[in-house]
């Protein structure tokens, strides 16, 4: 079963508005990552936040992590039509630091539509 669950499943906004997507997960994690997928393409990494971090910024992206609530949020400010894509959170709950268990678990994604 999925470790991360995004909310909402779909979001439609106007250009210039902010978009907020949430991710909840079930077990303790090493880090949480957000990815973007344009239609018909592979996923592209956006940002990684480690379990000991609470907030991280990258350009127009702001990610928060609340490990006590097992949740994260991705905020895209001043959205553009080009931000239209699906956004996925992925959690790394690997327990084996020796290297044989490195894998991410992805959520089902939030489809963001930014209308011009």
């Amino acid at each position: 079963s999925q470790q991360g669950e995004e909310d909402p499943q779909a979001l439609s906004i106007q250009e210039g508005e902010n978009a907020t997507m949430n991710c909840s997960y079930k077990t303790s994690i090493n880090n949480l990552q957000w990815y973007r997928q344009n239609s018909g393409r592979g996923l592209v990494h956006l940002i990684l936040i480690r379990s000991n971090e609470r907030e991280k910024h990258s350009g127009r992206l702001r990610v928060t992590l609340d490990t006590s609530k097992k949740s994260s949020s991705l905020l895209i400010t001043a959205s553009r039509a080009a931000d239209t894509a699906s956004y996925f959170c992925a959690t790394d709950a690997s327990r084996n630091s020796g290297g044989s268990n490195y894998k991410l678990t992805f959520g089902k994604g939030t489809l963001l539509t930014v209308n011009p």
Binding site: R41, G42, L43, L48, F88, K103, T105, F106, G109
Partner: protein, 115 residues
């Protein structure tokens, strides 16, 4: 873009036939992954590799096998394709370091239709 290619990019096959998908990387990354993506299910891990000849099962491994005889290539085989294996398949690579998994880089995907 990370140096990842997948072949073929599109394939139509019939039920019961074997199918092999190839993932090739030029980054010399240790970890390689195969995912399938289906509507309503997001991205699910099929198998992954943490080194040459070292592989392990993911969430949805039934009906699939993998092989990694050299660092740059990771093959996914559907032994006898079924219609339920119609999907988009993505390969990903990662360095992995320390106690944390670093980011994954994805290939362009392979669209497989099993009739």
């Amino acid at each position: 873009d990370a140096g990842i290619t997948q072949s073929p990019r599109h394939k139509v096959t019939e039920t019961g036939t074997p199918v092999t998908l190839r993932c090739h990387q030029t980054e010399n990354h240790r970890y390689m992954y195969w995912y399938r993506q289906d509507p309503g299910h997001g991205l699910r891990l099929i198998h992954y590799s943490y080194g040459v000849k070292d592989t392990d099962k993911g969430e949805v491994s039934d009906g699939y096998s993998v092989s990694r005889s050299k660092t740059e290539d990771f093959l996914l085989t559907l032994e006898s394709a079924t219609s339920s294996q119609t999907s988009v398949y993505f390969c990903a690579i990662s360095r992995g370091s320390g106690g944390n998994l670093e980011t994954q880089y994805f290939g362009p995907g392979t669209r497989l239709l099993v009739l």
